[in-house]
Amino acid sequence: MIRLEKRPQPSQAWSLATPLVAVLATMIFGGLLFAILGKPPVEAIRTIFWEPLFGEFSFYYRPQLLVKGAPLVLIAIGLSLGFRAGVWNIGAEGQYIMGAIFGAGAGLAFYPMEAVYIFPIMVIAGAFGGWIWAMIPAVLRTRFGTNEILVSLMLVYVAEQFLASVSLGLLKNPEGFGFPGSRNLQSYPSAFNAELIEGSGMHWGVVAAFIAVIFAYVLLRKHMLGFHIRLTGEAPRAAKFAGVNPTRLVLFCLGTSGALAGLAGMFEVSGPAGQISIDFNVGYGFTAIIVAFLGRLHPVGIMLAGGLMALTYIGGEIAQSNLGLPAAAIQVFQGMLLFFLLALDLLTNFRIALRKPEAV
């Protein structure tokens, strides 16, 4: 009979190993899934994980890794702070949309003027858009005790409707022949979030993601606030006695994650996406939840996890065109990864022991 014994301390080794084991398990079961769909499993896995990095067209795909990874890392870093403290912001998708709308709106307000200060204003507006959207669940939780999970999620649907509304109305391109969607920011130099080095995929969003990783690392390791965040998550009673102010903590965690998600949306709309359109958001806000967990809620881990997730996005697209793998299969693949990760976490906190015959 197998029995679980609680470890006195979570195992450090397993904590590092579980993401790797989870990725391996996902590859095996994902391969099985692809085989059931009638696709060659080994070929599919190779296409997803190998092709973008070392394949024939890797010169095109490698920069994409940064482009797709940056928003994921940026959002996941913010989310991880809250998840550590037991503050569940799962509406990052909505904050991402609002950041994009605010950022693009601020830029388009200056059109067609050219000035160096336009882009910084857009950055601030984007962060503000995400921040204010996250402040709604934050204030409702601190003021009325409303569940932030449900409120932040409801606001995703509200943001999606708002996005549809502005791309058909307020921000619609007046020269767009009546098509929905805003002016293309890529053809407006002052607002264009261009690649910093040609062909590298490196835009300001990538820089911001790296800064966020460093900022979060320092905050969690060296700063009192970071200590309070960790304390609240790991030992809520101890945090209470230590005089942690829960209201400030909730406001900080939700506010930061909102602002970072808003920034991600703003960098996306002014760079790779180029314009506000009805189908602007592609689910980065939800995938970032997987990234945050896969990275063990640790800044460096999140950076690596973001890269891996970006890889599955790009590899998935290649597999779609080369092998005819359905787009949804990649979504299932990503969901599976989260499952294995959560299940294998068991090994971090528990030891599997064989039950000894009980003495009577």
Binding site: L4, E5, K6, L37, W88, I90, I136, L140, F144, G145, T146, N147, I149, L150, V151, L153, M154, L155, V156, Y157, V158, Q161, F162, A164, S165, L168, G169, F286, I289, I290, F293, P326, A327, A328, A329, I330, Q331, V332, F333, Q334, G335, M336, L338, F339, L342, A343, L344, D345, L346, N349, F350
Partner: protein
């Protein structure tokens, strides 16, 4: 704008149809939460139920078989949640999210061949005299059987929770799992059954959307109804009849905004479409002051070794 085009009798009748998926999912989740488990995967189980029910109905030609399949599919997916939270001791919030993300992906994968297909319709209740009555007929006596089943289920859950020994044990496990364990109740077994019941209900709620309310299959068609169902359980203070009331209220909001869209009210369509979500938030805020009726062990994992 022509508000006179809105027929109040038809409005109430369609409100009941709009409310049924919410009611089914909420009643299921209510039982789950009463047992002390918070399953945030309702949306995922609903959408799996929606595609399973749709596919089986199209293949077999029988909506009844479809509904049974949707319940089985929802329960099967909830078993994954059982595995994670009850055996692997994983965080319930994260596991619920995983269930939703996985369910949305899997349903999109399964549903590829079913986009644009029209499912066979389920027959409606047709009593000789009663269904033809002027106002009462369309509202009370001419719906599909699942709508009546949902109401009967509400009554059943209420009666079981309130009057039976099984209900008392379920509530005991939800209020204090340590004490229930000490009394010799199988906490794990009871919770697993509750979670599977919730999964089956959510699955049927999903199938109701794809088979009766819309009826069609599109990716992500549950559009947050699972999450509204979760909010509804809070709204209902974990009481079945109040869940019914809440579901009809939200169904009413949805139907009224659709009718206003059709009537061409001066408010833009997008703002009307936001309204159910905004009203959910508003209701949550109003009701969040009172937390006393929540099961005391809600969201806490149980492991017998402690």
């Amino acid at each position: 704008m022509d508000l006179s085009a809105i027929n109040p009798v038809l409005l109430i009748a369609s409100l009941m149809v709009a409310a049924t998926p919410l009611l089914l999912a909420a009643i299921g989740e209510l039982v789950v939460e009463k047992s002390g488990v918070l399953n945030l995967g309702v949306e995922g189980m609903m959408i799996i139920g929606a595609i399973a029910g749709f596919a089986i109905t199209v293949e077999s030609g029988s909506p009844f078989l479809g509904f049974i399949a949707s319940a089985i599919a929802g329960a099967l997916l909830s078993l994954l949640f059982v595995l994670l939270t009850q055996y692997a001791q994983a965080n319930q919030v994260a596991s619920g999210l995983a269930l939703t993300l996985f369910g949305l992906g899997l349903s999109a994968l399964l549903g590829q061949g079913y986009v644009g297909v029209k499912p066979p319709q389920m027959g409606k209740l047709d009593l000789p005299v009663l269904s033809d009555l002027p106002v009462v007929g369309p509202i009370l006596f001419s719906h599909d059987p699942i709508l009546y089943f949902a109401i009967a289920l509400t009554a059943g859950v209420w009666a079981v929770l309130k009057y039976t020994r099984a209900g008392l044990i379920l509530r005991a496990v939800g209020e204090n799992h340590e004490a229930a364990h000490a009394l010799g109740y199988k906490v794990l077994k009871i919770r697993i059954m509750a979670i599977m019941f919730g999964g089956a209900c959510a699955g049927m709620g999903g199938a109701y959307i794809s088979l009766i309310r819309v009826p069609q299959w599109t990716e992500g068609m549950t559009a947050g109804i699972g999450w509204i169902a979760l909010a509804l359980v809070v709204f209902a203070s974990w009481k079945p009849w109040r869940a019914l009331l809440g579901a009809y209220l939200f169904g009413g909001v949805t139907v009224v905004q659709l009718n206003l869209q059709a009537a061409g009210v001066a408010i833009p369509v997008e703002y009307l479409a936001m309204s159910p979500y905004l009203i959910t938030i508003l209701v949550l805020v109003i009701l969040s002051a009172d937390k006393s009726s929540a099961p005391a062990s809600l969201g806490k994992n149980f492991h017998a070794s402690r």
